[in-house]
């Protein structure tokens, strides 16, 4: 399996580049997103809808950082992992949207 061999080499190369430094950057990025979310709520009178948009934006960005970098989602060979988790996320969105509308009506 020549292709397999080169794939291993490729991932070795990638991991050599990707030291703990990259994880610290991801950590700082997550911290900043958390800070923005808390500041938006604690920082006084901003438009409520605008705060909601900020909160959702920072939350999804942070999840993206965690999944891609810390859970190695961006590495190759994660197609089925992506299908598995997206299947879950799809059901979640259905539930959340349903529950929100049910509560509003």
């Amino acid at each position: 399996m020549a292709s397999n061999h080169s794939a291993t080499e490729e991932s070795t190369k990638r991991h050599k580049v990707e030291g703990p430094k990259k994880h610290v950057i991801a950590f700082i990025f997550s911290l900043a997103l958390t800070l923005i979310a808390f500041a938006a709520v604690m920082g006084g009178e901003i438009n409520k809808d605008f705060i909601y948009i900020i909160l959702m934006g920072t939350a999804f960005l942070q999840v993206f950082v965690q999944m891609a970098f810390w859970m190695h989602m961006k590495d190759r060979g994660h197609t089925f992992a992506l299908i598995g988790i997206l299947g879950g996320v799809f059901i979640v969105f259905t539930c959340v949207i349903m529950a929100e509308y049910w509560a509003w009506w």
């Binding site: 291993t8 991932s11 070795t12 991991h15 030291g19 703990p20 994880h23 610290v24 991801a26 950590f27 997550s30 911290l31 958390t34 979310a37 808390f38 938006a40 709520v41 604690m42 409520k48 705060i51 909601y52 909160l55 959702m56 920072t58 939350a59 942070q62 999840v63 965690q66 999944m67 810390w70 859970m71 994660h78 089925f80 992992a81 598995g84 988790i85 997206l86 299947g87 879950g88 996320v89 059901i91 979640v92 969105f93 539930c95 959340v96 349903m98 529950a99 929100e100 049910w102 509560a103």
Partner: protein
């Protein structure tokens, strides 16, 4: 990348994916996390639907103390980082540093859990019991389920630390560490949504 006298022969670079069993464990764990996502999603949707039904109990904006939540968030986020360092140590085959990072992760997890227990006790004293209102029931079910996951993770990783200390790092123990780390990140991901949806959106109203 020196000093792997503990290893019989040379371990591959990613020992968690060296065996078919290891690869299947990682894949199976992703599917499990998909199911966990659904579990938490249903709890989130129940909470979203019921969060304004306070029935005379304290509402979210009076109840929540964001300082405490920020501290818990910081602790859990840091523990996510230390479990990444643990996987990094796994990839460079440094068992001692792997065990050390796992211990730090467990200690931080225990700190988070301690804060959460303190928070819950405080809320009960404020008149926010499990059966007070639909808001309180859905709150405790959602946040408590997450806390139970943290507690389970602490137990799991502690057992892994013991096994690593006894058996060292090999192609059997490596996938276990890897998926435990995935589980820990997932807990942090769920917490991101809890502090956003439950606490911050609760404060906004």
């Amino acid at each position: 990348m020196s000093a792997h006298s503990h290893v019989d022969g040379q371990l591959p670079h990613e020992p968690e994916k060296a065996t078919l069993e290891g690869r299947n464990k990682v894949l199976g764990f992703w599917l499990f996390l998909g199911g966990e996502t659904v579990l938490f999603g249903t709890l989130f949707s129940a909470f979203l639907a019921l969060r304004h039904q306070v029935l005379g109990g304290p509402p979210a904006e009076e109840l929540f103390n964001l300082g405490l939540v920020a501290a818990a968030t910081l602790i859990l986020l840091t523990s996510s980082l230390t479990s990444v360092f643990a996987v990094h140590a796994l990839h460079t085959h440094q068992v001692k540093s792997l065990i050390m990072w796992l211990i730090i992760t467990v200690v931080l997890g225990a700190g988070f859990l301690g804060l959460e227990i303190y928070e819950f006790v405080h809320y009960v004293h404020e008149g926010h019991g499990f059966t007070t209102s639909a808001f309180s029931s859905s709150f405790y079910t959602l946040v408590g389920f997450h806390g139970a996951h943290v507690a389970f993770g602490i137990l799991w990783i502690s057992l892994l630390i013991i096994q690593l200390a006894k058996k060292g790092l090999n192609t059997t123990t490596a996938p276990k560490v890897y998926i435990a780390s995935m589980y820990w990140h997932f807990i942090d991901v769920v917490w991101v949504f809890i502090f956003t949806v439950v606490y911050l959106m609760g404060k906004v109203g």
